[in-house]
């Protein structure tokens, strides 16, 4: 029941969405925004970094994947430390 109400609210929010004036209703999928941010950073950084612009698309792809994989690895690492390592080493 609550899920149906939440879905209905999300649909209504999306229908009333005004680009650049209202925020997107992506609160449930916020972590996916890592991908466009990683691509944007790679596009700008590699533009000034690559020597030959022929290598640009491949280098952008590689850096984007490196950023996303690194952030996921950091997230997994932080999860393991907080959930599994800290309970073991903290005095009770």
């Amino acid at each position: 029941m609550a899920d149906a109400a939440e879905d209905g609210w999300r649909v209504m929010t999306m229908l009333a969405y005004r680009p650049f004036l209202d925020p997107l209703a992506l609160d449930a999928y916020w972590y996916l925004l890592l991908i466009p941010i990683a691509i944007g950073i790679s596009l700008g950084y590699k533009a000034v970094r690559v020597r030959d612009m022929k290598d640009y698309p491949r280098q952008v792809l590689v850096l984007s994947i490196q950023i996303v994989v690194s952030m996921v690895a950091l997230g997994v690492g932080a999860y393991l430390v907080v959930q599994h390592v800290l309970p073991v080493i903290t005095p009770r």
Partner: protein, 173 residues
């Protein structure tokens, strides 16, 4: 004049180094224009795509509320590095979208509540109307501000590269 230290070694063509004030000014005015002014149009377009993609993407996700020099001053310091575009967006946000409210005898600008509209002539809140924009909150707001701030910091790198062209290494990040 550059002379190779060891004349027996084959000399690679010297890379362009030095300071280009025109490129710095162009890069500050519009992202990527510094490279274009130096004749590297393709590189300038690529840099602009990255910087503006992050800036416009951030506003698309979090709404114009993510660019706010009054309420998010420290984030705006980073966002301002995008150049006049960031200041223009902030000016529009402060003067054409926020409502002018009176609190404790002095005028303050704030985002209209969901139940309020905005009087175009005075800027005062009108009960019962549609708000000109919606305030973003939580992670969507944070990610929007972060994206726009990253755009500014990236543009600083782009402007420095345009103004002080130097040797680019082959390969690697």
């Amino acid at each position: 004049m550059n002379t190779p230290a060891n004349p027996s070694k084959p000399a690679s063509p010297p890379d362009e180094i030095g300071f280009e004030p025109v490129a710095v000014v162009a890069g500050v005015v519009f992202p990527g224009a510094g490279h274009a002014a130096r004749g590297e149009v393709k590189r300038g377009v690529a840099a602009a795509a990255g910087v503006l993609g992050l800036f416009v993407g951030g506003m698309l996700v979090g709404g114009i509320d993510v660019v706010d020099s009054k309420e998010d001053k420290f984030w705006f310091i980073g966002q301002a590095l995008v150049g006049p575009i960031a200041f223009g967006v902030d000016y529009y946000h402060q003067n054409h979208l926020k409502v002018v409210d009176t609190k404790a005898g002095r005028q303050v600008r704030r985002t209209a509540y969901p139940t309020e509209g905005r009087d175009a002539a005075t800027g005062k809140p009108v009960p019962g109307g549609n708000p000109p924009n919606t305030k973003s909150v939580s992670k969507i707001n944070e990610l929007g501000m972060l994206s726009c701030c990253l755009a500014g910091m990236l543009n600083l790198i782009v402007v420095i590269d345009a103004g002080w062209p130097t040797r680019r290494k082959t390969g690697g990040a």
